[in-house]
Amino acid sequence: MAAATRFKTLKDMPTGDYFSPGNTLCAGCGGILAARIFHKVLGPNVAWVNAAGCMTVTMSYPLSPLKSNWLYTAFASAPAGAQGVRDALDVLIAKGRLPKSEDLKVVVVTGDGAAYDIGLQATAGAIDRHLDFFYLCYDNEAYGNTGFQVSSSTPFGSSTKTTPATPIFPIGNLSRKKDLFEVWRSMRAPYVATLANSHGLDFLRKVEKGTGITGPKMYIALAACPTGWGFDSRDSIELEKLAVQTGIWPLKESVDGVVRHTFVPRTLTPVSEYLKTQGRFSHLFEPEEKTEAIATIQESVNAYWREAGAREGFEVKVPAAPARGSPSN
């Protein structure tokens, strides 16, 4: 049974905004939208602690689009910065040198490069220490701020600037996306959730749920990236929706290690519907269709949902993977 929530419909999304309009990020950026929604739920008293990434350049002296606190740390150690802020506030409040009313919710915000790669050690430390903080990873599946190089979040088949699709490497990136949700869950973070901007109510409720939990509250938000992924910026939300409907981006949460899918797409849309909307996957369709690669992606999504359904007791109708070996027409 779901806990009581103040979010019954999307109309319950708080109208107050803590990010001013007109920041320096790209039009259609899923990352800043996720941060904006996140902030709406947490309210005004927040200290964001950031690692190098797209969000970093929004705070460009002397301007800030933010109405709350901000600290940029370094690429590898934003969770340690959160530790310092949290501990300082706690110790000053405990010693009576700071009124409780000055307390802040401490939120790490990083892209996938920091979360999946260079900052994973610092995140592990913060989780081990049961640090009371939120972690919002806006995941655009590559190093976007530096021009879209591969990260361990980049999915199989994506072309990036450092895994370009070429005649001798026709598939682009050959590694599978790291399962950061499971990595964080295995470290015993009390709450881990995935988010998509297209599923706002699910998003709001998960952040709300985190506010009632002490310790590390870890979120991975799909962050559609028009410039890196290669699509029209007006389609960001549609694209995230498609990522959820194809089953590529599962919406789920883990409470004390118990995983539950919060949205089950009963009939999965074929992955090719999602892939073909984006420049980063265009080599999978042109000049000829790479059916092997598309089949690999479809089979991996199908296997995921079969296993999840078996574990949680739901059924998902999965599309057939394209026949391997011959280009379809």
Partner: protein, 406 residues
């Protein structure tokens, strides 16, 4: 006044306790561990009202330290050697944040090869980071410099983090008498830390913002430099007050038997004691020897160095560090301090010694002064690299074992 016998490490921890630090993020490394173990004990026994947290790396430790300092806590931490190198990125950040926390560095040579005993390549790797640097010769200085460093770092005219350096083994594990100041006097000397623009619900701030214009970046960097330079005057003020309260006197540099000295050796940290002994031996032999100790390394006390070395015949710079392909690190700093001054010494003799804590004998120290005299008589001041014949023959034996020859 008689002191308690304390190791340099406990003297550092005692300084932190007397400074009433709020927060100690830590990460262990030999030979620093006794500092953080001692503080952890005191916190858990309720003797020290601080929060102690062990992090998962020095990089994270310094990130937490700087962030907590920005949020309004007085922060102390400690590292050594590889730990210092591992967190270099954060030293530049914390200094750029103008977060006046304190880092005790227990000097130890850096790998490769791995070594445990001291030289100063670790702390001098932080030379350009914007941290103030205070280097201690004795365990008493360790405690005193912790208190002085907070006072200077947190001064509104400075607002920069600081390093207090103590040599591994020679100070860290050596017991010396240390007079611990009374808490009430320390409280008079060191008022509570007042952060500038801390993160607060009622008054949000952005810290560590990006700066994309070179002129703006230059402005902030010049500002940091000006604050670091100002720290010398602030240190002198604080040292006068410290002397009034505690009776011990400190300055950016310290001269030893300098009055009529012709041959002056420049040293820092615990090996300075060997230099003092050498000066006394030389004086007995009729050589007008003297010593200049660097206590303040950042800001570099150029004026004091120039004033005290003016008119000397030969200056020897004892560098307990090595910049391969260049030489010692202090040598060009001393030369730079002297070059544009009138009556500068006739020659500067570069000396590299005591790397990895290499035992340095009286004979070696004397040889430095003898070389200075030879330089005065016309010999070219070519760099000396201290290594004795008996040591070299041991090296040869070990090399032949390593090569499987014996």
């Amino acid at each position: 006044m008689k002191g308690k016998l304390l190791t340099g490490n406990v003297a550092a921890a005692a300084g932190a306790m007397l400074a009433r630090v709020d927060y100690v993020p830590a990460y262990p490394i030999t030979p620093q561990t006794e500092i953080i173990e001692t503080i952890a004990d005191w916190v858990r026994e309720g003797k020290m009202e601080s929060r102690f947290v062990q992090l998962e790396s020095e990089h994270s430790m310094m990130t937490a330290a700087g962030a907590a300092s920005l949020a309004g806590a007085r922060v102390f931490t400690a590292t050594s050697s590889q730990g210092m190198l591992y967190t270099i990125e954060m030293l530049y950040n914390v200094s750029g944040w103008r977060a006046p926390m304190l880092l005790a560095n227990v000097s130890r040579g850096v790998a490769a090869p791995i070594v445990l005993e001291p030289d100063h390549n670790d702390v001098l790797a932080a030379r350009d980071s914007g941290f103030l640097q205070f280097h201690s010769e004795t365990c008493q200085e360790v405690t005193d410099l912790v208190l002085l460093a907070y006072r200077v770092a947190e001064d509104k005219r400075v607002m920069l983090p600081a390093i207090v350096n103590l040599d591994g083994f020679y100070l860290s594990f050596t017991r010396e008498p240390v007079v611990l100041p009374e808490q009430k006097d320390v409280d008079r000397f060191l008022p509570p830390y007042e952060p500038v623009g801390p993160m607060r619900a009622s008054a949000p701030v952005s810290r560590g913002s990006s700066v994309f214009e070179g002129f703006l970046y230059s402005y902030f960097r010049y500002n940091q430099h000006a604050a670091a330079l100002k720290a010398k005057e602030v240190f002198n003020e604080a040292a006068r007050e410290f002397e009034g309260l505690f009776g011990r006197s400190y300055g950016p540099v310290e001269g030893y038997m300098l009055d009529d000295a012709d041959y002056v050796i420049v040293m820092s940290n615990s090996f300075t004691g060997l230099g003092r002994q050498a000066v006394r031996r030389m004086r007995e032999r009729g050589v007008k020897a003297g010593l200049l100790k660097l206590l303040l390394v950042r800001p570099f006390p150029s004026e004091e160095v120039a004033a005290l070395l003016r008119g000397r015949k030969v200056v020897g710079v004892f560098d307990q560090n090595l910049a391969p392909g260049s030489g010692g690190i202090f040598y060009p700093e001393i030369a730079g301090a002297l070059y544009n001054t009138r009556g500068r010494p006739n020659a500067i003799l570069p000396v590299i010694g005591a790397l990895g804590g290499k035992q340095t004998t009286a004979k070696e120290m004397d040889a430095i002064f003898e070389e200075m005299v030879a330089v005065d008589r016309g010999k070219a001041p070519s760099p000396m690299f201290l290594m004795r014949k008996d040591e070299m023959s041991r090296v040869k034996k070990m090399v032949s074992v390593a090569e499987g020859k014996s």
